[in-house]
Symmetry: C2
Subunit: 244 residues, 2 copies
Amino acid sequence: MTQVVGILGGMGPAAGADFVRLFVDACAQHMRAAGEPVRDQSFPEHWLAQVPVPDRSGALERTGEGAHQPLEPMLQALGRLAALGSRAVAIACNTAHAWHATLQQRFPQIELLHVAREVAAHLSARGETQVALMATEGTYRVRLYEQALADSGLPCHLPTAEERRMLMRGIYEGVKAGDLPLAEALFSEVALRLSQRHGDVAIVMGCTEVPLGLQGAAAVHGLKLVDPARVLASALAERAYARA
Amino acid sequence: MTQVVGILGGMGPAAGADFVRLFVDACAQHMRAAGEPVRDQSFPEHWLAQVPVPDRSGALERTGEGAHQPLEPMLQALGRLAALGSRAVAIACNTAHAWHATLQQRFPQIELLHVAREVAAHLSARGETQVALMATEGTYRVRLYEQALADSGLPCHLPTAEERRMLMRGIYEGVKAGDLPLAEALFSEVALRLSQRHGDVAIVMGCTEVPLGLQGAAAVHGLKLVDPARVLASALAERAYARA
């Protein structure tokens, strides 16, 4: 017997669609690891909500009412995922986790997974001791990963101000604007510098655009790149297969 | 203002996840065609239900109660998609369309898209005059595409009995079992034969496994292969952007 789970997406919709793919992959892996055949009927029931949510990074730069704009549509969608029977829900957006505590508080009957805590637990279990973070300015601002990693006793190395600008350029002028070679060059350079500075370091790609820009990049071959969406999708699959 | 739409998936879950990707692509294309910027917030709200549904092909071979097993979970999921506000719903499985009429009848307030009718309309609008169908035995049995194409005045050329066996082998021993080279060889051979027999023919890949097996196959380069999932995803995007 599996549990119904939900995915809160739309931030952006392509990342939400890709998260479902990763979740389905993780479920198939779970079945194979348990020695069970992978059949359509053995997958847990899951629902994806792709709802329009005002820009998360923009809201985090504002104060007053504007700062809370993304909360309302997320609360509504989460309430509906809960009503559909979801026992656990994952949010398919790093930056949206800035509102995690408020969302979880409002719906105590569901477990709202936290991407950074799942990544910290995953790295801790793997025995990593050094972690570096590639992310957006918004994610650095709310210290999403720093806090979760610190709670697991893991240091979080940050890029320099110049490297952060390179990341933002790779995300906005690279991936989002469709210039993948530019993104790959910028992301690779930052990843290599982090690895040179911190040695055997696990590098967290804490923005969904980063893995897209680094896909198949030869320059970063051998680096320990961690995709939080993949870790979060596995964590959600675990919840789905947990006994009630 | 966009309309809320739904996707009835889980048949199988990987095809459902891929359908969301195609729908998101189709929406982005719609925005670009309209000269609008592609922003997260400009996508229509959409919901994906991935529910366990008993084997569709198996049910179509049975009579009595067994023949209706897949209907109940599809009705339940469709009712919930309707309750979430969906005005139009697409089913991410060819064979499940055997129950289309019953599902549509039960929920007259939503438009339940029909993959074969959308493909027929698409091919008709493109000015095609010859169509061939690569599908599963179950899809041939219920004449899913033949009927819809005939209603649009289009002939539907079918593979020979031997070619159908090649398709079933490519689907089950090839794609589903992870032997992609076998699938590519079998699917390519059937596609080439259809093209040799019927000349300038549009070949409908009426089973979600077929495009997976033919991805990047050089042998079929230049053939007019039609992916119904892509056509259905575009049709759903059209409904989402239609004025209320």
